[in-house]
């Protein structure tokens, strides 16, 4: 390895309005190493590498590549310097093949030979151990294959400095392993790689050194083999953090929610939910695990009356005039459901697209669920304002007041407004979808505490999550979805993560062998596309367990 650094960023500062994305941050990428850039959301990881890949221009600071001082004004400049970035959201032409996407935009003759391109791509892939069919069309690809195409595209353009932005967020554990193997091959070939992540297990598995950022500032750079999870967490958060999640014991009450043979189609007419059945009792948390796009969104939205079902039933316990019955609610609008004496709270996955209105203030967002309660044509803002102020105080929401615009709050505070409002309805059934996505460690644990509090109050909680470790620690029972089917309901105290991981991919192999059903991998693609306001921080499976010895 040569003495010169592949990339040296010095004293980089970047502001957006009054906010520092990066403040006096430096980064050293050595020749032929894998550097993990670790930090919580909002710590400035992506902003920093975006300045390297020409998307942003720094306010101040210097960048050197291979020892030469450079000015990177556009992605084209970055390419010319041999810097290639693989973004979280893929930039591929759907109707082109892998090889066509890879050679796209490269200089060459007017006529092109598909055979030659395919051969070139195949050779390149073989060199690093990629599995790819150069002639495969992008629309036929799984997320992992698309990512592979993106990486080869960058390599084909001659990049020797690669930046991968949260590459594992959309991958299954097995795919993650393959990616890491390829990364090691690239490293052996002399490529220098920056991997952005907030998953500690991956950092420890694949990187040589780790640079930690916190709140836009540089914290430290350490050698991976000299550090551990707790030290890294402490650096990320700024203080020691206990990573244990409580599971208070509550004796389960009556059945509050019963789902029977629920089936749904997606917009293409494919089955996304196939005869899903389960019950949830008061005082328990039912965790729902599955690879992204296994039907979680449709499941919670159809229970909440927001997604059309093609069959089955959803029953909820209704207490109206001393009478307690299981009321069928499937196909009813949310307001109709609440008129039946059922108090169901739902924290949707898309917070600002479904749960809240970003352009409105906290008061109006709190009012969203209750504005119909008073009589007359006018809205009553007094009660919601009082509630908004109470939520801000109780949940330590950082906002200038009840009049703060929700869309301008940070992700954790947005989520607290949403969960706080839903819990304030005193629900009997609480459905939360990916409540900690994009939140930092502190906010996440605050959310877990809130869910446990509801459980102790006798609420039936359905928790749809992506981090298997959290699901196993928090839930009382764990339902595993696979391709829209329930592949198992297990006791999280008794199963291992590997066993649950197997349930999650149970019939993936069968499906891809030509069964009529869509392989779950294909459905997976939908999720990242739906993410509009936030980055996609899925943790479909923590890969720690699959780390090679």
């Amino acid at each position: 390895m040569s003495e010169t650094l592949a990339v040296h960023m010095e004293h980089i500062t970047k502001t957006f309005g009054r906010v520092y994305a990066n403040k006096d941050v430096s980064l050293e990428l050595r020749q032929g190493e894998i550097l993990a850039l670790l930090g919580e959301n909002g710590s400035g990881k992506t902003s920093l590498v975006n300045m390297l890949s020409g998307i942003y221009f720094p306010d101040s600071g210097d960048i050197s590549v291979h020892g030469n001082k450079v000015t990177i004004r556009s992605p084209r400049d970055a390419y010319n310097l041999g810097i290639g970035m693989i973004h979280q959201h893929f930039k591929l032409v759907e109707v082109f093949s892998a090889a066509e996407n890879i050679v796209l935009g490269q200089p060459g003759a007017v006529a092109m030979s598909r055979r030659k391109n395919n051969l070139e791509v195949a050779q390149l892939a073989q060199r690093y151990g990629f599995e790819i069919d150069p002639a495969k069309m992008v629309y036929d690809m799984s997320v992992s294959e698309k990512q592979t195409t993106e990486i080869i595209k960058v390599l084909y353009r001659g990049a020797d400095i690669l930046i991968l932005d949260e590459p594992t967020a959309v991958l299954t554990p097995h795919e993650t392993e393959k990616l890491f193997a390829v990364m090691r091959n690239m490293k052996a070939d002399g490529k220098s790689i920056i991997i952005i992540t907030h998953k500690l297990g991956e950092v420890l598995a694949v990187s040589d050194r780790v640079e930690v950022l916190r709140k836009g500032e540089y914290v430290a750079t350490v050698n991976t083999n000299e550090t551990g999870k707790s030290q890294l967490t402490e650096m990320m958060v700024g203080r020691p953090v206990s990573l244990k999640i409580e599971r208070p014991h509550v004796s389960p009450g009556e059945v509050m929610l019963e789902v029977v043979d629920l089936s749904c189609h997606n917009s293409d007419g494919l089955k996304v939910l196939d005869k899903v059945s389960f019950t949830v009792s008061g005082g328990e948390i039912l965790g729902i695990a599955g690879i992204a796009g296994s039907g979680q969104k449709e499941l919670c939205e159809s229970i909440a009356g927001l997604y059309p079902a093609i069959g089955g039933a959803v029953l909820m316990r209704s207490e109206l005039e001393d009478e307690t019955i299981m009321e069928p609610v499937l196909g009813l609008r949310p307001d109709v459901i609440s008129k039946k004496g059922i108090s169901m709270a739902f924290v949707p996955e898309d917070r600002l697209g479904m749960g809240l209105v970003g352009a409105m203030d906290v008061t109006d967002n709190v009012m969203l669920r209750s504005y119909k309660n008073n009589k007359g044509p006018f809205v009553d803002r007094k009660t919601p304002r009082a509630l908004a102020e109470r939520l801000i105080e109780q949940l330590a929401i950082v906002a200038s007041g009840a009049g703060a615009i929700v869309g301008r709050l940070s992700g954790g505070n947005v989520q607290k407004v949403l969960i706080g409002r839903e819990i304030a309805q005193a629900p009997t059934v609480l459905i939360v979808a990916y409540p900690v996505r994009g939140l930092d460690i502190n906010s996440s644990y605050k959310i877990y505490d809130l869910l446990n509090e509801q459980k102790k109050k006798g609420v039936a909680v359905v928790f749809i999550g992506e981090d298997l470790d959290v699901l196993l620690e928090l839930s009382d029972r764990l339902l595993v979805l696979c391709g829209g089917k329930v592949s198992g309901i297990v006791d999280p105290r008794l199963v291992t993560k590997e066993e649950v991981g197997l349930l999650m991919v149970q019939d993936v192999t069968e499906a891809s062998k030509g069964a009529t059903e869509p392989p779950p991998e294909q459905l997976q693609m939908e999720l990242p596309l739906q993410e509009s306001t936030e980055e996609y921080f899925s943790e479909s499976l923590n890969t720690e367990g699959n780390r090679p010895a």
């Binding site: 919580e40 479904m354 749960g355």
Partner: protein
């Protein structure tokens, strides 16, 4: 890989996003933009060989110089203002109602059905009430039609409402040439409205101006204080959120567009029975389109619409005056209006971004949270900066 190509200097000009600008400052920018527009317009007038200051003065005098011209200005303001209120309501729902023209025309036609043919039957107050009711109903239905299709089949409301304008225009032409043609006239035109069917005047202008002011206050209340207004805002922001909140989205779309169309229909009646006393192809005075600009410049605020529509009416009146005095063609005054819009809309860019020239580092922003370097938590950006709030709570 050519290193040389990348070793250029930093870009000559680049945009940097501003932090939230205080409303005062934003208005100051708008004020500057307005002045710049007047200067640019002045250069245009200068090029035509006139003294810009005199021309501007005469424009103001032409609009406000005497009771007579004030009345004329108010008469121009009323339809513009009420139409802007109507369109603003739809725009708040992000329903692009470009069909104000058509809704005004059908309102006038429906009023004409009573005004022309029942003037002898009903007493004046009842007749005018009937005309108002018919006009609003017709306009409402005309607005409801595209909303119904939008709500049920998600049709494109922009095209739909726009095309309905031509339908209404064709209807007027048909009536003018045939069934409603004034007897004894060789031209295709409709008869004049009987005096009993005309609107009373208050301070020299038909009482529509009072109604318009009442509607401004009512619209403000509707937007801000009623459940309906709240629902309109939610549907406009996110239909998924609206469904989640238990709002019947289809009903809100149809109801809101009915109201929007009804207000436009009302404008038709006011123009017909208040100023024109007959129906021609030009009954709308193009307010259905001009009001779109009024609503946007006022940022959908009813009180803002008063200011903007008065200003627009003034420009129109003033341009008539300068046409008469200086023989400046009317098209030149339209150009002036265009210049003002250009600057007003352009300044919104400068409210959001600032320009940094090469070699000048943007001023480092004031740090809010002391020396810890922690980002202010209330400021979120669409980039990776969202989670910073917990630092203080630790």
């Amino acid at each position: 890989m050519s290193l040389k190509r990348a070793e250029k200097k930093e870009p000559l000009i680049r945009m940097v996003k501003r932090d939230d600008v205080s409303p005062r400052r934003a208005w100051a920018y708008r004020g500057i933009a307005f002045v710049l527009a007047l200067i640019t317009g002045g250069l245009l007038i200068l090029a035509l060989g006139h003294n810009p200051l005199l021309v501007y003065r005469d424009m103001v005098v032409g609009a406000w110089g005497s009771p007579t011209v004030i009345r004329e200005t108010v008469k121009l303001t009323v339809p513009l203002l009420v139409t802007a209120l109507a369109l603003g309501l739809a725009f708040r729902m992000k329903f692009w109602n470009i069909g104000g023209e058509g809704q005004i025309m059908v309102g006038a036609i429906a009023a004409g059905a009573f005004g022309f043919f029942t003037a002898d039957i009903f007493p004046s107050p009842l007749l005018i009430t009937l005309m108002l009711a018919a006009g609003m109903l017709a306009g409402g239905i005309y607005g409801f039609i595209p909303a119904y299709f939008k709500a049920n089949w998600n049709t494109n409301e922009t095209l739909f409402t726009l095309m309905l304008n031509y339908v209404a225009l064709a209807l007027i032409k048909f009536l003018m040439n045939g069934p409603w043609k004034a007897s004894g006239s060789s031209f295709p035109k409709m008869p004049m409205l009987a005096p009993a069917a005309r609107l009373q005047q208050v301070l020299g202008v038909h009482w529509g101006w009072i109604l318009a002011l009442v509607l401004v206050v009512a619209a403000w209340f509707y937007f801000n204080k009623t459940k309906h207004g709240f629902e309109v805002s939610i549907v406009g922001n996110s239909r998924d959120t609206a469904r989640y909140a238990g709002i019947n989205v289809k009903r809100v779309i149809m109801r809101t567009m009915f109201i929007s169309g009804a207000l436009c229909g009302l404008v038709g009646v006011l123009q017909f029975a208040g100023t024109d006393y007959t129906i021609t192809e030009g009954i709308t005075g193009y307010v259905g389109f001009t009001a779109i600009i009024v609503a946007w410049l006022a940022k959908m605020n009813p009180y803002g619409m008063v200011v903007v529509s008065v200003f627009m009416a003034m420009l129109e009146r003033g341009s008539n005056t300068i046409h008469t005095i200086y023989k400046i063609p009317a098209s030149a005054s339209n150009l002036l209006i265009g210049i003002i819009f250009f600057f007003m809309l352009g300044c919104e860019f400068f409210i959001r971004y600032r320009i940094v020239f090469r070699g000048r580092t943007p001023a480092v922003p004031v740090e809010l949270t002391g020396n810890t370097g922690i980002m202010p938590a209330s400021a979120a950006s669409p980039f990776e900066l969202s989670e910073s709030e917990e630092a203080g709570n630790a």
